[in-house]
Amino acid sequence: MLVTRYSAVAHRTAALLGAGDEAEDAVQEAFVKAFRFLSGFRRDAAFKPWLLRIVANETHDLTRSRGRRADLVLRIGVEPETRAPDDPEGVAIAGDRRTRLLDAVRALPERERQAVVCRYFLQLSEAETAEVLGWPLGTVKSRTFRGLGKLRKEVGHELS
């Protein structure tokens, strides 16, 4: 069933776009809508970005109805393994840098953050991002570019 196949990526999308602990609600609603409106789905189009767009809309709706910005409440679950295990200091530094990078992503203006989240956290292509967020391709490019620029300014000089 489609739900089982796309459940994980849908939850990930909702959470990373700011649904927080209401990601489940957003995803469930998105699946219900997706099935109800499957007739509006073009056979030649890819299902995943179409579904994720509904997820994104639901998330947007949900956060808007809460009357606040879609805050990114996330924690880093897996410690990076960029250093050898016998180098605890190096691991700590790498972990700290990730935390700072995540903070910097959080601090981006909402649209630039959405672009960065889709392109890198969800690893969608530019075209998929455009479809999911409902933006023209050029807008995806420019917002990603601006977002990356800010991130680089924020943490870039610390990247080694």
Partner: protein, 274 residues
């Protein structure tokens, strides 16, 4: 080493390291299916087969906010298969849960709960024959005038203009419920959207989703059992038999209209509550 590629790959790695809670896909599938079945029972929803008639030019934009939107429901129509039922805001919530788990035995005896406007409807669980006899009053129920009722209850309510002055007005449970009576008809208005005020048990069919004015309502077409759930969580009022009932809400006030001849009549009366 501050090339764009470094930052981009760093971001990808960070994304992979982020912990996102993901419920069991089978649980999600189950809940989604239950909700679709509930919808299909009421409003003729397209089958999720993917073979439905496809309209050219239809795009994901068709499912944008403001379009297929809940003309009816607020932010709170979500459901989840969990004990903690969360009501987002105080809006309308329609919650359909599949009981009895995922086992084949459980599915055979599956029941649905529809939660809407302070009412819990349990479908498929009618416990034996419907109660008969004189219904017991609500806790602290008092006979009052309409003016007194407006002063005593904690919420705004209106009388259907199509019915005019009620023959009898009662306020119960410390002003949580006002009941208006006309021959053969009973209208309960209540303040109880966050905590269920009523439980209904019926064998079926699944309630029909209808539109009342601009909002959502549910029509229960057959006699069923209704139980009042007191606000203090105290002892339940004895269940009684209820005639076909329309439930809906206006603002934060829930309404249940009992005894209309059919759904059209019920809607006509309900829409005259202004």
């Amino acid at each position: 080493m501050n090339s764009p590629d470094d930052l981009e790959s760093e971001l990808r790695a960070l994304g992979e390291a982020l912990a996102v809670p993901e419920p069991q896909p089978s649980d999600v599938a189950h809940t989604v299916r239950a909700r679709l079945e509930a919808l299909r029972g009421g409003s003729g929803v397209a089958e999720p087969s993917g073979d439905a008639d496809r309209r050219d030019g239809a795009r994901p934009g068709d499912v944008l906010p403001g379009d297929t939107r809940r003309g009816s429901s607020g932010p709170g129509r979500r459901s989840r298969r969990r004990p903690r039922w969360r009501w987002v805001g105080a809006g309308v919530a329609v919650v359909v849960a599949v009981l009895a788990g995922l086992t084949p035995q459980g599915q055979a005896a599956v029941g649905h709960i529809l939660r809407f406007a302070g009412i819990e409807v349990h479908i498929g669980e009618q416990p034996g024959p419907l109660p008969s006899g004189v219904p017991s009053p609500l806790p602290g129920e008092r006979r009052v005038t309409l003016d007194e009722a407006h002063r005593m209850v904690k919420f705004p309510f209106s009388v259907p203009t199509a019915l005019g002055e009620p023959d009898d007005v009662r306020v119960g449970d410390g002003g949580r419920v006002v009941s208006l009576f006309w021959p053969g008809l009973r209208l309960d208005a209540y303040h109880g959207l966050l905590r269920p005020a009523w439980r209904k048990d019926l064998g079926g069919p699944f309630p029909e989703q209808v539109v009342v004015g601009t909002s959502e309502g549910w029509w229960i077409s057959s006699p069923h059992q209704v139980t009042y759930l007191p606000s203090d969580g105290g002892e339940r009022v004895m269940p009684r038999r209820a005639e076909p009932t329309l439930i809906w809400q206006r603002g934060l006030t829930g309404y249940r209209l009992e005894g209309a001849a059919d759904v059209a009549e019920a809607r006509r009366l309900a829409e005259s509550v202004r």
